[in-house]
């Protein structure tokens, strides 16, 4: 039985108990049935006796009605008779049916029936005579005693039948009592038997279950204390053996889980410490971030202010650049006028150079004339010398002639000196002319240079005008750009404020995180302690 499954064991026990209970049930059922049938027969007997009494009563009613009518002649006294006439046959039939199992009674019923018929006939005759001949005729019939004899017969038969039934009643009552006694005994014995059998089976089953369960409880208690180094030691083939194997597997799994948990808890402890450290670092960096955001906000405000100043300056510069553009247009006109004037100056200077050159040619003519005069003076001088020589050769006679020769020589010398002076002056004039030409040439060159410079200035001013216009456009773009920049700065400042709020929130959440990390550290330490309970 110990190798059976527990379910089968329990089922077997229950089956034994059921068998016993069933046997007791069968016995009790049969006893009860007997009791019931005995009671039925008792009831039946009582009914037969009642029916017999009814029949007798009916007959008495009929006789009563007949006697009342006979005495009174009143139809209304006849009422019990008419009612009895109607029911008397049915009563007899009832008695016959109720006593079908009893042949002696059946035979008595036949006698009874004839007696009843006689009585009824006597009654009917008397009643008819009362009606037809009156009371006397009727009483005569009665005095024949045939009615009284019939009635006595009826009373005797009914009495016999009643006695029969009373005997039957007594016998059946005794049978019922015996049956009840047997049933009571059987139930008592069966109950004791059931108690004994069920107790034995239950104790067996209980012992077969609770002993391994106790082992398992101790085992599980030790596991609960954290000892994972044991085995269940139950090797039976039933569910408890399976439970033992499963428990072993469970402990092995727990051992595995505990090892992993210990490893994981160690990791968790270090990780939570790292989380705490990094959370504290984050808190510090969040503080720095808040400070940086503060500085950024201040800087952005300064930048915004300087941007507004830049925009204002750019507007001013754009205005002045437009003014400069207008001025450069005027300057361009002036430069063109200057170029024209320079050309005029050049033309006039060239005319001056032409005039001066023609003066130089005149001077050349004068120079030729002067050299002719000088030649003449030289010849006069030589002539005077020769005259002096001739005068000297003439001696005393030539003395006055030598004076004239000397005079001629003086004139020649003066002429020569005059020509020398004129030459010198002509040289000066020529030098002056050369200088004038050079100066004029220089002036023309300078005018040319000036014109070129004016052209350069013209181009420069044009370029400058274009540049200034570009600058105006650029400054307008700068103004527009700086306006957009202001908008952008405003947005950036809003964003920086948002960042500040976010960093404050981050600081708050970092504090929470720090608390959580502390809690986590505490939890992991608790977990570590809890895991250390397990002895692997």
């Amino acid at each position: 039985m110990l190798n059976m499954k527990i379910g089968m064991r329990i089922l077997t026990g229950y089956a034994v108990a059921l068998l016993v209970v069933g046997a007791i049930g069968v016995v009790a059922y049969r006893a009860t049935n007997e009791l019931v049938s005995s009671a039925d027969w008792v009831t039946h007997t009582h009914k037969v006796k009642e029916t017999l009494a009814d029949l007798l009563s009916t007959m008495k009613d009929a006789e009563t009605g007949q006697r009342g009518f006979v005495l009174t002649g009143e139809e209304r006294y006849l009422e019990p008779y008419t009612a009895a006439v109607k029911t008397v046959d049915a009563r007899i039939q009832d008695v016959r049916e109720l006593t079908l199992d009893n042949p002696s009674e059946q035979s008595r019923i036949a006698i009874l029936q004839s007696a009843v018929a006689k009585k009824m006939a006597e009654l009917a005759e008397t009643i008819a005579l009362r009606r037809q001949r009156g009371e006397k005729a009727a009483v005569e019939v009665v005095l024949t005693d045939k009615g009284k004899n019939a009635m006595d017969e009826i009373r005797r038969v009914v009495g016999a039948m009643d006695d029969e039934e009373s005997g039957l009643l007594k016998k059946r009552d005794q049978e019922a009592k015996a049956t009840a006694h047997f049933a009571t005994l059987a139930m008592l014995v069966g109950g004791v038997l059931v108690v004994v059998v069920v107790s034995v089976v239950g104790i067996l089953i209980q012992r077969s279950i609770t002993r391994p369960l106790g082992v398992f409880m101790q085992f599980v208690a030790r596991v609960g204390e954290g000892d994972l180094r044991q085995e269940a030691k139950i090797k039976t083939g039933d569910e408890l053996g399976e439970l033992g194997r499963y428990l072993d597997q469970m402990v092995a799994g727990l051992k595995d889980v505990a090892g992993q948990a210990r490893f994981a808890t160690d990791n968790l402890t270090s990780a939570s410490a790292e989380i705490l450290a990094s959370t504290q670092q984050q808190a510090a960096s969040t503080g720095e971030q808040a400070a940086a955001v503060q500085q950024t906000t201040i800087t952005m405000e300064e930048v915004t202010q300087s941007g507004a100043q830049i925009a204002e300056r750019a507007k001013q510069v754009a205005a002045s650049a437009e003014a400069t553009s207008a001025a450069s247009h005027a300057g361009l006109q002036a430069m063109q006028n200057t170029a024209k004037t320079m050309e005029g100056i050049r033309d006039q200077a060239e005319a001056v150079a032409e005039n001066v050159v023609s003066l130089s040619e005149k001077t050349q003519a004068i120079g030729e004339i002067i050299s002719t005069v000088n030649d003449l003076a030289e010849q006069s001088h030589l002539l005077a010398l020769n005259a002096a020589i001739e005068a000297a050769a003439a001696g005393e006679q030539g003395r006055s002639f030598s004076v004239i020769a000397s005079e001629v020589k003086n004139l020649a010398d003066q002429s020569r000196e005059a020509t020398v002076q004129v030459r010198s002056i002509l040289g000066d004039i020529q030098k002056g002319i050369n200088t004038s030409v050079m100066l004029t040439e220089e002036a023309v060159k300078r005018v040319e240079t000036g014109k070129q410079q004016a052209d350069v200035a013209d181009r420069t001013i044009r370029t400058m005008t274009e540049n200034i216009q570009q600058s105006v456009q650029a400054f307008q773009q700068i103004v527009a750009g700086s306006n957009q920049q202001q908008i952008g700065f405003t947005q950036v400042m809003q964003a920086v404020r948002d960042i500040g709020q976010a960093s404050q929130q981050t600081a708050a959440s970092t504090q929470q995180l720090e608390k959580a990390a502390l809690n986590l550290t505490a939890l992991s330490q608790q977990l570590q302690k809890a895991v250390e309970r397990y002895r692997i």
Partner: protein, 192 residues
């Protein structure tokens, strides 16, 4: 380089003034001519007065050659000619410069600097020819320039015997040329 700007009014005034002065200078007014005559007469009178007490020295012609001043007695000089064209004669000695035509007659011209043994730097050809009387005919001496005719005190001549054709120094650094000796020697040499 900036000059003060010119005052054109001044310029025009000066131009007009110089024009008027030129007109006046070129116009021969009777007053000017008379003034010139007076001045000339006064100067002549003055010169005659100076001439009278002039020293009765020997008249000489002073000329210049190779940077040195020479004197030659006027009695030896026949004529002074501008050295117009001097044709060189082939085969002639170095002292003989060439011949020139004087009023249709050919006259020899001596190279005086060569004869005197002084180098003549300026051989431009411009210069003068002194026609020196020699044995009835003239022989030319080419010189650089003629200065003047002057009376020289030959008795205060300092002795100078170094040069063959120089008689001596007169009135300072003036060398008196010995024309006769020069010509005699050069011509005889030429003829020989």
């Amino acid at each position: 380089m900036t000059r003060p700007s010119i005052n054109w009014g001044n310029v025009h005034a000066r131009l007009r003034a110089s024009e008027i002065a030129l007109q006046e200078a070129l116009s021969a007014t009777p007053q000017r001519i008379e003034a010139a005559y007076r001045e000339r007469a006064a100067r002549l009178a003055n010169q005659l007065r100076q001439l009278k007490p002039a020293s009765p020295g020997t008249p000489a012609l002073i000329f210049r050659l190779s940077g040195e001043r020479y004197a030659i007695q006027l009695k030896d000089v026949a004529e002074v000619l501008p050295c117009v064209r001097c044709m060189s004669v082939p085969g002639a000695p170095a002292e003989f410069l060439g011949v020139i035509s004087v009023r249709g007659e050919l006259r020899s011209v001596l190279n005086l600097s060569a004869a005197l043994g002084v180098s003549r730097n300026d051989r431009s050809g411009d210069g003068f020819v002194l026609m020196v009387r020699h044995q009835g005919q003239g022989i030319g001496l080419n010189v650089d320039a003629i200065e003047e005719v002057r009376n020289l005190q030959l008795d205060v001549m300092t002795g100078f015997n170094q040069g063959r054709f120089v008689k001596g120094m007169v009135s300072g650094t003036l060398m008196l040329l010995d024309a006769e000796k020069l010509l005699a020697e050069v011509v005889s040499k030429e003829e020989s």
